[in-house]
């Protein structure tokens, strides 16, 4: 409520976040997922320290298609490059892509969804009809068309994925915000003459943040796989830059002779996506007010 500190899970008071953390820790699977994710992030951040970038893009004719060994933990690929190094360097692009695209899509979705839900009427109608039209186009097809028009590469891939993702974020945020804007304290704020922008960003969105965070977390996993999918068909990150989807694409031709080339990047994608999903599950339970009452 306006002017009062309501004891809800979504009010950002230190003690409440401690409560959220306590509830989260009760979910052992989510905690394991978080630990895995932290390890992956640390490997990605310190990739250059662990293994030099040049060595993972430089070809080596003498060491092609070697299986896993002490010298090359994940083996080498068809160009003689160390696969372990390429997987951890690839984590940078995949994680960065997933997080950045989610953040940008979230921002776009928040602006459009919150505006549509808050103002309603014609504004809501116009925004949602445009969103509906965009959602008629299959997600991947829309992303592919945009990449084809703009050319391949990280920048155009990011723009394409964000544009293709904003509609679903908008819908999700709109539905969440709709439940908040109908609250009495929002009506009270309006009657007190508080500006609309202030109401949206100070009262509406903070009270809707819980489900938004959960959905965003799960979308990171989906966007990592979308990036891998675009790179798999040659429309994303260009060789020799290590990116998990690109690596999978190169490995498909070698699947029978050198399965390690497809297993390790595939595992990386699966584990990362799974960790984000499990994290999202854990957050869902931790942010659920009914859990706080236990």
């Amino acid at each position: 409520m306006l002017g009062k500190k309501k004891k809800t899970v979504t009010n950002v008071e230190p003690s409440q976040w401690k409560e959220v953390w306590r509830l989260f820790c009760k979910n052992k699977v989510s905690v394991v997922a978080l630990i895995f994710l932290i390890i992956i992030i640390i490997l990605a951040v310190f990739a250059d320290v662990i293994i030099d970038y040049q060595s993972v893009i430089t070809t080596n004719p003498q060491e092609r298609l070697l299986g896993p060994s002490l010298q090359h933990w994940f083996g080498t690929d068809h160009m003689g490059r160390d696969l372990f190094g390429r997987v951890i360097h690839g984590a940078r692009y995949s994680l960065m892509f997933g997080v950045v695209c989610t953040a940008l899509s979230l921002f776009g979705g928040c602006v459009l969804g919150a505006t549509a839900a808050y103002f309603g009427g014609k504004i809501d109608t116009w925004i949602m009809r445009i969103i509906d039209a965009l959602m008629c186009i299959p997600y991947m097809l829309l992303a592919l068309s945009l990449v084809a028009a703009m050319g391949s590469g990280l920048k155009s891939m990011t723009i394409a994925i964000v544009v293709a993702s904003v509609p679903s974020f908008t819908r999700m945020i709109r539905s969440v915000v709709l439940t908040v804007v109908r609250q009495d304290y929002i009506e009270a704020a309006r009657s007190c003459g508080v500006k609309d922008r202030e109401i949206i960003f100070r009262h509406v969105l903070p009270n809707a943040i819980g489900p938004i965070i959960v959905n965003a977390m799960m979308n990171v996993a989906g966007l990592i796989m979308s990036a891998a999918g675009l790179s798999f068909i040659g429309m994303g990150i260009q060789p020799p830059t290590p990116e998990w989807g690109n690596m999978l694409s190169e490995a498909t031709s070698w699947m029978r002779q050198s399965p390690h080339m497809i297993i390790f990047p595939g595992l990386a994608i699966v584990l990362t996506a799974l960790c984000f999903n499990l994290l999202g599950d854990g957050l869902t339970e931790a942010l659920d007010p009914r859990q706080a009452e236990r």
């Binding site: 893009i57 068809h78 084809a148 040659g234 260009q238 060789p239 190169e250 002779q257």
Partner: protein, 517 residues
């Protein structure tokens, strides 16, 4: 719920590691079959199954161009051409049993067989040949052939005269690839009707084409060169190479073409399959299409000497790593092959020319299609080793070829060459008015010498002019010939009768295929 998720995670991990374990050498399905049992598999069958490289969108060869859904693999079974390829890739008799140049050397007389009939029973003769040629001349999609031959005239019922457009046209190989000779009687009923029921003189007759686009053919028992062994042929739509190999191993197919080089290793390990690998009529090139290359000769030379051709071939899994020693493919150069030997990889020379060039450290682009990713990375590594920064840009095929002419593509990798071009044709691509003329280095002297080449009908005199032109073109360093391109096809080991060379141009004679003795 949490236990179920943990269980799911453990199962997924176990599955993945299980797959890894299965990745070690495994026996092929029929390794332990005896030779006679294997023969039974294929000899018992009355249908030969061929996995093609493209879907056959039409079987009418006269109203379409080769780029628009015409599957030559199907065409060469239903139709014949005037000539055909032998096992060395040399054009030999087919519907024409002999030929000779006219006195002035401007045309060739082809003497036709008089014992051939079309599938509809009508006779094959000079009228049918002229009819087929005239249709090609009239079709806007194929009228470009007038740059190679300008007319086909009837001399008598079994003799035609084909007039060359230039003295150096590779007329004989062209006549082994087209035009396909159709039955005028059948074609006059209407092109649409003909496309549904094509009629030629080939070893196989058209039976049907299903909604799956598979083409079904039946043997022409009255074929002039002998009835085929296999009574039926099915030409299947393309599939991924690894899937095609599995289909061959499971006896679901008999022949697959254009298998990716990395699959050939699997074929080597399987006694039931044979990979026919050979060079064709093309070389893998690194070409220059725009600035700074067009005006910076030293930069072109630096790149020329920096590229390690052996590594490029090895990373692309070619069966051999033999660098190109001629400017153009050896089969194309033919008798001219001994006129010139070109240099190859030399890092010291590369660095020396880079020092002299105007290269300012900018990142240059290298455009490729998906098939060239490995070679591109090899080239990128070679150039970076001497200090040239390269960015690889991968495009789909149509966009890739469009990039050559819009001025944004600085370098590109492609296969270049075909049996239908001569050395002189290749040299003509680089004159001022040629296909690449706009964005390559050239001089008025080069244009002048090529003008002489194009009008010199004396073979000896033309040879000397070609030698001079080759030297000039080489010294422009407009391209980096890396290695002769290999092509392959894989077939069941029990089969024989394949032409190992013509497949480079998708010319397969399935009427000659039969079980080995």
């Amino acid at each position: 719920m949490k236990k179920k998720k943990l269980l799911a995670l453990l199962c997924a991990t176990a599955l993945v590691f299980g797959l890894a374990a299965c990745g070690s050498k495994s026996e092929t399905p029929s390794d332990d079959q005896t030779t006679s049992e294997k023969k039974e598999n294929t000899a018992d069958k009355d249908t030969l199954v061929f996995i093609s490289h493209m879907t056959s969108e039409t079987l009418d060869p006269l109203t379409t161009a080769s780029a628009t859904g015409v599957d030559k693999n199907a065409m060469h079974q239903i139709y014949d051409c005037l000539l055909q390829f032998d096992n060395e890739g040399t054009p030999v008799a087919c519907l024409a049993e002999s030929w000779e140049d006219t006195d002035d050397g401007h045309a060739v007389l082809f003497h036709l067989r008089d014992d051939v009939t079309f599938h509809d029973g009508t006779p094959f003769n000079a009228d049918a040949v002229v009819y087929s040629f005239d249709k090609q001349f009239a079709n806007p999609l194929t009228s470009y052939i007038t740059t190679y031959y300008t007319a086909c005239e009837k001399v008598d019922d079994y003799t035609v005269k084909i007039t060359k457009a230039t003295p150096h046209v590779a007329l004989l190989p062209m006549m082994a690839e087209g035009p396909f000779i159709v039955s005028p009687t059948a074609y006059e009923k209407g092109a649409d009707e003909f496309a549904k029921n094509p009629v030629g003189t080939g070893a196989y007759k058209f039976e049907s084409q299903g909604t799956d686009q598979y083409v079904h053919l039946v043997a022409n028992e009255d074929y002039f060169d002998g009835a085929p062994y296999y009574k039926k042929v099915t030409i299947r739509t393309p599939m991924d190479s690894s899937t095609a190999i599995v289909a061959l191993q499971n006896n679901e197919a008999d022949i697959a073409i254009n298998v990716t080089p990395n699959q050939l290793k699997l074929v080597e390990e399987d006694k039931n399959l044979v990979a026919e690998v050979n060079t064709g009529w093309s070389i893998k090139y690194l070409n220059f299409y725009a600035e700074p290359f067009t005006s910076d000769e030293n930069l072109r030379k630096a790149v020329y000497y920096a590229v390690n051709r052996e590594n490029a071939a090895m990373f692309n899994n070619e069966p051999e790593t033999i660098p190109a020693t001629t400017l153009y493919p050896q089969r194309v150069m033919g008798d001219y092959v001994d006129l010139q030997t070109i240099d190859g990889y030399d890092v010291d020379k590369a660095k020396e020319y880079l020092e002299k060039s105007n290269y300012n450290g900018e990142t240059l682009n290298l455009y490729i299609s998906a098939n060239e990713a490995s070679i591109a990375q090899s080239v990128q590594g070679d150039l970076q080793a001497i200090g040239i920064n390269v960015e690889i840009v991968q495009l789909d095929t149509n966009a890739y070829y469009a990039k050559f002419t819009d001025g944004t593509c600085q370098m590109g990798i492609l296969d270049f060459g075909t049996d239908q071009v001569s050395t002189e044709d290749m040299l003509n691509f680089y004159v001022s008015s040629g296909y690449y003329g706009e964005f390559v280095a050239k001089t008025p002297e080069y244009d002048a010498i090529m003008e002489k080449v194009n009008n010199e009908y004396d073979a000896d005199a033309r040879r000397e002019l070609v030698k001079e032109a080759l030297e000039m073109q080489y010294n422009f360093y407009n391209m980096v010939p890396m290695y002769e391109s290999y092509f392959n096809f894989v077939h069941r080991a029990e089969l024989t009768g394949f032409n190992p060379v013509s497949g480079a141009n998708y010319v397969y004679y399935l009427g000659k295929v039969k079980p080995a003795e």
